[in-house]
């Protein structure tokens, strides 16, 4: 029982991660792939933030009257990772826009067909 409660967070987060991961690899639409990546990454962020939490702790901004703070380090890492995620999303979507202009489609299967007939 304690395992269940102690790991509930992590398990759900893993399900979320896999939801995103599945979207990336199984869906032929390029925009959907980017959305999948976004979900995948966001869920990994939740994993990191979950491990930073201390039971009974508070946000790591030092103030009188509080002594137990959550771990600030994962927060810092995830701040960086969010930015990286935005950069990836923006670049990926820019590529999608250009692919649409070049091929007239954003469906991976159609693109393959066009490439093979070239």
């Amino acid at each position: 029982m304690s395992t269940l409660l102690g790991h509930y967070n992590y398990w759900i987060v893993i399900v979320l991660m896999m939801t995103g991961f599945y979207t990336v690899i199984a869906r032929p639409n390029l925009v959907k792939k980017i959305i999948g990546l976004f979900i995948f990454q966001t869920s990994v962020f939740i994993l990191f933030i979950s491990m930073a939490k201390v039971e009974g702790g508070t946000a790591p901004i030092i103030e009188e009257g509080y002594s137990l703070y959550s771990n600030p380090l994962p927060h810092v890492l995830i701040l960086t990772a969010i930015v990286v995620g935005l950069a990836t999303t923006a670049l990926g979507l820019a590529l999608v826009v250009r692919i649409q202009e070049a091929y007239g489609t954003t469906n991976e299967d159609d693109i393959h067909v066009q490439d093979e007939t070239d």
């Binding site: 508070t58 946000a59 901004i61 103030e63």
Partner: protein
């Protein structure tokens, strides 16, 4: 007291989410998103008080702005695209 308010707001969010799933139009979903944004702002404010750290209202303030601007942006970007698609 905060707890009860929190629960009520969470339920409201869940109800709003159902509308976001059902649609049927984009506008319904944007509307649901906008409402969830409002509810989130209030939830953050209440949670801040519940945890005794109301200075986190800055977050709530940012959420108000972001939720407003992204609603407007989504609508404008979408509508202007469709205008162009018709005229080009």
């Amino acid at each position: 007291m905060y707890a009860i308010a929190t629960i009520l707001i969470l339920v409201a969010i869940a109800v709003g989410l159902v509308r976001a799933f059902r649609g049927p139009t984009l506008f319904d979903r944007v509307m649901a998103g906008n409402m969830i944004g409002t509810l989130t702002v209030l939830l953050v404010a209440v949670l801040g008080f519940m945890n005794g750290r109301p200075e986190f209202l800055d977050i709530a303030l940012v959420y108000v702005l972001i939720s407003f601007i992204s609603t407007i942006a989504v609508l404008r970007v979408y509508v202007s695209r469709h205008d162009h698609a018709d005229t080009d």
